[in-house]
Amino acid sequence: MGAQPLMRIENLVKHFHVRLGAFGERAATVHALDDITFDILDGETLSLVGESGCGKSTTGFTLLNLHKATHGKVIYQGKNIVELDEKAMRPYRRQLQIVFQDPYSTLNPRMTIGEAVGEPILFHKLATKAELKDGIATLLADVGLPPRFASRYPHELSGGQRQRVAIARALACQPKFIVCDEAISALDVSVQAQIINLLLDLQQKYGLTYLFIAHDLAVVRHISDRVGVMYLGRLAELTSREELFDNPLHPYTKALLSAVPEADPAHERSRKRQVLQGDVPSPLSPPSGCRFHTRCPVAMDVCSKVVPEWREALPGHHVACHAVTEGISGTGGLPG
């Protein structure tokens, strides 16, 4: 793993302004992303996990400048790319790609697979028209599809095949960095493993960096170098995958891990889960202080008043929680 940061995300904020009520009479703000800071290292797979609506996709979209950031910086190659306009952004677009959850709706139904994969090649002038056919065939081969698929339409492909096409399309740009937004969540179990293997192979072959957004912790544990846990628009914890799964510090991470079922009947039957009570609060009016305090089993008075600081509690282990902070100041360090 290269230790150089590929991208630095500093105090990134994304608010959506929406209108509520039957006639849109009430203006409101969705706090989709509030003040998140982290690095993405060159060549790593960084995963983001968390419950639906916690801001994982918004993070991916905002750091690719597909949503305009409300505040904050995304430093890539020495430039803050979130303040660039579409035109200035174009050279970076090629290097920064995204693969979406639903491979059906992200392919133009009127374009053949060949056209869809060839388009970015021609647009970014990565090959001449004469070389195009070979280029498409190579890309399709990279993602494990036979060349005859070039003349097919998306509706003639299965879900897994479409996701392969979406990956081929991202690869066509010869990117450095790919956001995989729930890229395997919509696929069948037996096909998921194929796509995970494909992503791993491509990472090795082309030295790619992934931001892997997912909610399946078993998959995340399998492919990540580091994992970030999000809750209601904020990062709760971010560290290496070993550290996160063996030594979770944040109460929310602990609850999340305990909710994941294991494929082992005896273990599952005897297991005592720490089940969280209640639902995720609305991002329209997030709780004050620590956003997890309404469901946190170890919440203290300070939690509802003061936003816990995002700090490096242990080397390479970031967490935002008052209890963790106090635990450390009380004992002079947590066991590693």
Binding site: D188, V189, Q194, A218, I223, A255, V260, P261, A263, V275
Partner: protein, 335 residues
């Protein structure tokens, strides 16, 4: 539990075949499914999307959409034939003796009706309660499924509830008339892991308290590991393996089940090691291969597999463990 005879079977489906009209004539979607649920038993039905899980369950209640028909097979509930019973009798079974929980709680709840009314409806219809009684019972049901402030929530509309709460309401509706059998079609697929854990624990607790049978449909093997007694694995519209849950996880016999279990990432895996995966994709309905439906993807396939269809058989040596695979059957016989 392992020894079954027909009399204690609550639900008994034999050779159920479902076809759909296509432009090329009828195509088989569900091909001779054999399933049964014993009294007090929880059955997990596992299979990938499109393998026919939902249609099988809908067909039991004669709720199939247009152009899709049952062409062969029988289905009995508590000894009564579901296919031939009169409509009025069937209506008593639907929502009365058999409760349903659907996959998507938003689209299966009526968006313009208060949840209290939706809960009261089956009570008034099946139990002959009056409005006041039904409302009181509806409040109890909401409390049963763990909705905080249950009585106040009776007048809420579905969109005012979160996804997890809506699914709890769906479960409450399914349970309204104390059914003998609850059929839950991917009841947690649309939910988050922490909410999913809440729902699984809730259903477990309700089952132990009310003593009903459950059919839990899912594509997630790990999810049902701690919940069910027996698992039926579906592939391309047929049951390929049917075994007690511990047996299935410890000794999966069918190559498809083996592949499925192997493709779940394990705690012990190296980071970024290759997962074992099943090549190819499931056949589309109507394009099922000749012979064993899994043959084109099967690492163990032999000549006979491309020619003949293996039958789901229970082998003496394997007890209640049934499998539809030539190779697995041979191995079990030899053992």
């Amino acid at each position: 539990m392992t020894k079954t005879n027909t009399s204690e079977r609550l639900l008994d489906v034999k050779g159920l075949t479902i076809e759909i009209e296509t432009r090329n004539g009828p195509a088989t979607i569900v091909d001779g499914i054999d399933l049964h649920v014993n009294k007090g038993e929880t059955l997990g039905v596992v299979g990938e999307s499109g393998c026919g899980k939902s249609l099988t369950m809908l067909s039991l209640m004669r709720l199939l959409p247009n152009k899709i028909r049952v062409t062969k097979g029988t289905a009995h509930f508590a000894g009564r034939d579901l296919q031939t019973m009169s409509n009025s009798e069937l209506r008593k079974v639907r929502g009365g003796e058999v409760g349903f929980v659907f996959q998507d709680p938003m689209t299966s709840l009526n968006p313009v009706m208060r949840i209290g009314q939706q809960l009261a409806e089956p009570l008034i219809y099946h139990r002959g309660m009056n409005k006041a009684q039904a409302r009181k019972r509806a409040g109890e049901l909401l409390k049963l499924v763990g909705i905080p402030g249950a009585e106040d929530r009776l007048d809420a509309y579905p969109h005012e509830l979160s996804g997890g709460m809506r699914q709890r309401v769906m479960i409450a509706i399914g349970l309204a008339c104390n059914p003998q059998l609850l059929i839950a079609d991917e009841p947690t697929t649309a939910l988050d892991v922490t909410i999913q854990a809440q729902i699984v624990d809730l259903v477990k607790e309700l089952r132990d308290r009310l003593g009903m049978s459950i059919v839990w449909i899912t594509h997630d093997l790990a999810l049902i590991a701690g919940l069910v007694d027996r698992v039926a694995v579906l592939y391309a519209g047929t049951v390929v393996e049917d075994a007690p849950v511990d047996d299935l996880f410890a000794r999966p016999a069918h190559p498809y089940t083996q592949g499925l279990l192997a493709s779940i990432p394990k705690l012990s895996d190296e980071r970024a090691s290759r997962l074992s995966s099943i090549g190819g994709t499931p056949p589309e309905p109507g394009r099922r291969p000749k012979g064993c439906p899994f043959a084109p993807r099967c690492p163990l396939a032999e000549a006979i597999c491309h020619d003949k269809v293996p039958v789901l058989e229970s082998l003496v040596s394997a007890g209640a463990h049934r499998v539809a695979c030539f190779v697995a059957q041979r191995k079990l016989e030899a053992a």
